[in-house]
């Protein structure tokens, strides 16, 4: 298939993505509520700016972008940071690419073979991850894709379900409608809403959770606070059942 015909197929595919079952459910309302987990060290500057940061290096599934999960999948990206920030994106008029659909992936894979220099670099050099990033940015620029919707590609038992969860890569557009990076207003009205109770570490091609459910299943949990923590701890220690305090800062 020539590139012109292929690109027409891709345009046709994208035009239908907003109506695919997975995406149409997400964008049933005009506003899409999303959650971004990030390391606590970044929270201060993110809240001060009111903007998330669009990634700007190799190693992200669909290139540079603001990676979030729909709030309807609150656990699926929890392993990426200690705090969860929630915000909204307008779903009106957005151009989606449904990468959870094998047909979309097939079209993308065909398209990159036409990007001669980058494809050569991807397939024959040690710089594959850099070429991958550039190819995905080029694809999203060429088809002006505002958001790629894809299945998780990193596992974490009890948190990620790669068959049902969806992750989203929103595009931060530069001044000339190319894929950009850095602080982005694509997700608005940010609020810090979650403190993650578990601890994670990288594990192979994903992450491993230490507490849930290996240890959490055999314990009960009660709420405590910094100001009452001494009493809370003594009560938990004295309790006949295995009890753990989940405390807040009050």
């Amino acid at each position: 298939m020539g590139v012109a015909e292929l690109e027409q197929h891709i345009e046709d595919f994208i035009s239908k993505c907003g109506k695919s079952p997975s995406i149409s459910t997400l964008i049933a309302a005009d506003e899409l509520v999303v959650v971004k987990y990030l390391p606590a060290e970044h929270l201060g500057v993110v809240l001060a700016r009111g903007q998330l940061y669009a990634s700007e290096r190799a190693g992200f599934t669909w290139g540079d972008g603001v990676y979030v999960a729909p709030a309807s999948f609150p656990l699926t990206t929890m392993m990426y940071g200690e705090v969860g920030v929630v915000g909204t994106c307008s779903a009106v008029g957005l151009k989606f690419f449904d990468a959870s659909d094998p047909a979309g992936i097939d079209l993308y894979q065909q398209w990159i073979t036409h990007q001669t220099a980058l494809y050569l670099e991807l397939t024959t050099t040690v710089h594959a991850s850099v070429a991958n990033r550039e190819l995905r940015n080029a694809f999203r620029t060429r088809f002006q894709i505002d958001c790629v919707c894809f299945r998780p590609d990193e596992h974490c038992v009890n948190y990620v379900d790669a068959t049902t969860d969806l992750w989203l890569a929103f595009t931060h557009w530069d001044a000339y409608r190319g894929v950009g990076h850095g602080f982005s207003g694509v997700v608005r009205a940010l609020k810090w809403c979650v403190v993650v109770p578990d601890a994670f570490k990288p594990d192979g091609r994903g992450h491993k959770a230490f507490l849930h459910k290996t240890l959490s299943a055999t314990h009960s949990f009660t709420r405590g606070g910094y100001s009452t923590l001494a009493t809370d701890i003594l009560q938990a220690y004295a309790a006949p059942a295995k009890q753990v305090i989940v405390c807040d800062f009050s």
Partner: protein
């Protein structure tokens, strides 16, 4: 006559800036540490406004060899290339021009050429001065006689970057205000190969258009129009 005393404050400021910018990619730090540093300085600059960019660019005053610390150029161009036109207008063309001339990293040089085009469009949104683009000058340095033999590597790199911009733009966008960079890129390609007069021959136009590679008919038509 005695030479003027050095501006110690400016020197120290430039040195500290350069040191911080180098640390943005310090391999001793984790990816999160590096990101934290980038976010901190970018937030500060964006909060304070475009005037900060003028100060930031002083870091390049004390960099003797861009290839020793390419990460400074890498971060700077990554940062400014995603900013709005107001910020691009405050970006000194001299920095990407210098990176183009001095860097040995092809990826960095491609980014420099792309940033030059972006800055020039931000400065001249009516695209009336494509003939005076510094990319034309850089092309001609590498290829004084554009149609004599195959393109020199540097000349080809510039043409690749320019055509890439247009190729990655849907035609509907290319014809819209947001497609200014794509249209400008095509005009600059035209002036790389020929001055305003005499115009290129049909054969020469075909030769230049073929450098765009595999493109659909609509884009090819757009390219031909730009080259005439």
């Amino acid at each position: 006559m005695a030479s003027p005393a050095p501006d110690h404050s400016a020197l120290l400021e430039s040195f500290l800036l350069r040191t911080y910018m180098e640390a943005l990619h310090d391999p001793a730090g984790s990816a999160q540490d590096q990101l934290q540093r980038r976010m901190a300085i970018e937030h500060l600059i964006l909060e304070q406004g475009t005037g900060m960019l003028r100060v930031l660019q002083r870091a390049f005053n004390v960099i003797d060899d861009l290839n020793t610390n390419p990460q400074v150029a890498q971060w700077f161009m990554t940062f400014v290339s995603s900013l709005s036109e107001d910020w691009l207008r405050e970006t000194s063309l001299g920095i990407p021009q210098r990176i183009w001339r001095e860097s040995v990293d092809v990826r960095l040089r491609r980014k420099a050429a792309d940033l030059i085009a972006k800055i020039e469009v931000a400065i001249d949104p009516y695209l009336s001065t494509a003939y005076g683009s510094s990319l034309v000058a850089l092309f001609r340095e590498a290829q004084p006689k554009p149609f004599d033999g195959p393109l020199a590597p540097d000349a080809k790199l510039i043409i690749d970057v320019l055509f890439e911009r247009a190729k990655l733009m849907p035609l509907s966008l290319l014809n819209s205000p947001q497609g200014a960079l794509g249209r400008y890129s095509l005009r600059v390609v035209r002036y790389c190969f020929a001055d305003e007069y005499p115009k290129m021959s049909a054969e020469q136009i075909d030769t230049v258009a073929s450098l765009a590679g595999d493109v659909n008919d609509a884009l090819r038509g757009r390219i031909l129009i730009a080259l005439v």
